[in-house]
Amino acid sequence: MSAVTSPMTTTVASPDKSPEHHYLNHSSGFLSWALTLDHKRIGMMYLAGILFSFFLGGVFALAIRIHLWNPNLDPEAAWLSNATYNRVFTLHGAIMVFLFIIPSVPAALGNFLLPIMLGTKDVAFPRLNLGSFYLWVTGLLFFTYTLFSSGIDTGWTFYTPYSIESKSAVEAATLGVFILGFSSIFTGLNFIVTINTMRPPGMTWFKMPLFLWAVYATSIIQVLATPVLGITVLLLALERFIGIGIFDPALNGDPVTFQHFFWFYSHPAVYIMILPAMGIISELMSVHSHKGIFGYRMIAYSSIAIALFGFLVWGHHMFTSGMADVTTIVFSALTFTVSIPSAIKVFNWLGTMYQGTVALNTPMIYALAFIFLFTIGGLTGLFLGALSTDMHLHDTYFVVAHFHYVMMGGTLVAFLGGLFHWWPKMTGKMFNDTAGILSAAIVFVGFNLTFLPQFVLGTRGMPRRYASYVREFQQLHQLSTIGAMTLGLGLLVAGLVLLHSLFYGKKAPMNPWGGATLEWECSSPPPHDNFSSPPTVGDPYDFTSVEYDGKTGSYFKKKK
């Protein structure tokens, strides 16, 4: 581990021309990327892979919505056959969850930012980090195989016994999930160790940026929950290979046990998705309000609280699966308690904006959209956590709308906000802010148009995962489809804005937004070893010493 780059690479710029020398031009050639141990390059490779998966999942999503334009009461005349429809929505869900949203913030942005925010050279285990990336790629290959063989039609939840009988390529998909799980575990493990042992002098736990708290809490869940998913999908694969029967009622096995195992991971997994997004929002709110974060400790503690409470509520996915009455009541009550730390965060973000100097630029608009959408998503979760209402709403479009509000309106929107926020740092290029705001606006409108009607559909009884519906629902479904197209357009604009910046963007200054965390103290993009002079660790949310310099268009820290 003596050198970070492989011997096969060549250095093209010398370190003494400091500003020109950065991690992107440090060395070149395919192998200098494929074998890199640099967390920044690994983060960028993740970013590319994740955006590709998002695109793939998005294509399936549009296929679902186009299919549902018509009620399809006659399956023969429908655009997609019922069997194809099942495959399309399963692949959409599985790709979005396992390949995109779970690794999105931690593996892409987290990898890039975590060591820089800590003022270190790299994560604790750079090789393991690269290994995680290749595990992710292997998982992607398994899914690609699934896609080109018989697909998969079980729903992303792989419920038995159907997943045992299904003729589709369940084995490949479950092994893919198994491998992706280990990718996620190793990333989490790496981050926990890095934060524990590699913080710089002066950075106590409560001087850490809140993004790191969020990533830390996420990593705890990744390490504690994902192994259970691993063994569950492994047993499911064995169920298909050698018929072990543990989850197979035909062999006296118990499908409800499968659901318990699955949700023991997958409920905490929704916090793997949302916690890092919340971390992003904490940074965005404070930096773009130019005001210290309100209630730092409460936000930090609530991240950990969410991580721990999140392990106790998985049963709320199974209220109708046949559990003892007492069990359902306990799970319902516990579900309500997890919403408290989430609410704490929302209030703290609002408190941060209050009397701040709010800059309405692209990242901030996305952050505001997040607060709005996440709040709706979280509040509708309460309807589902309440036993009596969930009996009616379970397995309807209400659930679909709920989790899209939290996962897409929450995590994806925060991810985009974070991407815009750190884009100048990562690529060294400024994007067109007006066009960025336009993309955020289209995404926001398109998103609500897609999913608000689904709440209504759900309460009226439209079941999820159906390829056809009664005529009464057609108008709402069509609204939703139009919304999905708009949403797609908004994302396209966002993508074009970022692409455009790569080629025509102005050179990004060191600190374009006025942030006080350490990543804004190294050049954009950062040099190979992150810092050319030692950063002084201070309060990450002290904006009184951050000043704007009109000449360079950059903020800088006043030396005390």
Partner: protein, 384 residues
């Protein structure tokens, strides 16, 4: 929550940034990043040996946590099914040979000792002892697998297979044609041959390093077959007698530790099924139920213990048995790979008092693998 990282305790006055400064000043030589004060065993992004060691240690502990959770899924399944069908577990565990289980427990416990000794030797830079102890650990692991191969192949031969493939046990059952044990021995045999060649080669070129590596590998190859031999004496002999007597009821004749499960099981199984039936949760009772559909077909009605001796009952036990012991065996094999890696490093004399983290951490992993077996043994073998 006030755990201070080593860097905060002021042990190092920012060495890394001093380095970066000199580096920037120095002319580029392709790789301006080799730090002269960084010994080769200290990774470039760590400040000092202690930080590197602490990171590795914490990483390993976290990994062990994930391992425990990984197994916990199967332990859960075990608890659920044992709780629901205790009579099945009693019936089935009688098919497991607790002598072989006990021997393997002893072998693994001993390997924990040698592993711990290896850690000490690496700290004291006693290369010979270190390589010897790692070799002994590797040998024990191989022996464990040898014994396990006998157990597995014997069970496969008489149809004690997981779930759907379980064959109801009857007296005078025909023996399988396939010799599973031979199949399991193919890879170890090839490996042993390779190790032998390697060892001869190392003697020929008189390389101390290669001898140190090849020796333990060859010994562990042989240990596998020692395990097979040992297992065969305890299980295979019994196997023959059965054949000779043409009956499963060999135990009385040989004063064997476990009574014939087919006979002994009747009482317990009958009793237990009635008990559970009273509580209305028996899966066996329901005549049109799934178990009867699958497992007990018309022709099989004559088999002994048909209520538990079927795919949905005994088969499920063996599913759990194979999953748990199989995943454990995979961990043993993984451990053997990393121990081999350690042997190579140790033979190069890489370890010393400031750098022994890899031995220490592999040791932790190895103890966990033993520890899991310590649970598996009584839970599976010692039920009756």
């Amino acid at each position: 929550m006030k755990i201070e990282s080593p860097r905060q305790q002021g042990r190092h006055p920012f060495p890394k940034f001093q380095k970066t400064m000199t580096e920037v000043a120095a002319p580029a030589d392709g790789h301006g990043h080799d730090h002269h004060d960084h010994p080769s065993w200290l990774a470039h992004h760590f400040d000092d040996a202690e930080q590197q060691y602490d990171s590795g240690k914490l990483g390993m502990w976290l990994f062990l946590v994930t391992e425990v959770l990984f197994f916990s899924g199967m332990f859960c399944a075990y608890v659920l099914y044992r709780n629901r069908n205790p009579e099945v577990f009693e019936f089935c565990s009688a098919f497991l040979n607790e002598k072989l289980g006990a021997i393997n427990t002893g072998v693994l416990l001993f390997s924990s000792l040698t592993m711990a000794w290896a850690v000490r030797a690496s700290q004291l830079k006693q290369t010979k002892i270190l390589v010897g102890m790692l070799g002994a650990t590797l040998g024990c692991a191989a022996m464990f697998l040898g014994v396990k191969s006998v157990e597995y192949s014997h069970k496969w031969g008489i149809g004690l297979l997981p779930g759907r493939y379980y064959v109801a046990q009857v007296e005078n059952a025909p023996h399988a044609e396939t010799n599973y044990l031979q199949m399991l021995c193919v890879i170890p045999a090839i490996l042993s041959a390779v190790f032998l060649l390697y060892y001869v080669y190392s003697l020929v070129i008189a390389s101390k390093f290669h001898q140190r590596v090849a020796g333990p590998l060859l010994v562990s190859g042989l240990c596998f077959f020692a395990g097979v031999g040992l297992g065969n004496i305890l299980e295979g002999g019994e196997h023959h007698d059965e054949h000779g007597a043409g009956s499963h009821a060999h135990d009385d004749a040989h004063g064997h530790a476990h009574a014939d499960p087919l006979v002994q099981g009747v009482a317990t199984a009958e009793k237990a099924t009635v008990e559970t039936a009273d509580e209305g949760i028996s899966f066996v009772k329901t005549s049109g139920g799934p178990v009867n559909d699958v497992a007990v077909t018309k022709e099989e009605e004559g088999i002994p213990n048909s209520k538990v001796n079927n795919q949905g009952m005994a088969g499920l036990f063996f599913s759990i048995y194979y999953c748990m012991t199989g995943v454990h065996a995979v961990h043993i094999i993984g451990g053997m790979l990393v121990i081999t890696w350690l042997i190579v490093k140790a033979s190069r004399e890489e370890f010393h008092s400031e750098y022994f983290g890899p031995v220490d951490n592999v040791g932790l992993y190895w103890h966990l693998v033993d520890f899991i077996w310590i649970y598996l043994f009584p839970l599976l073998y010692l039920i009756t």
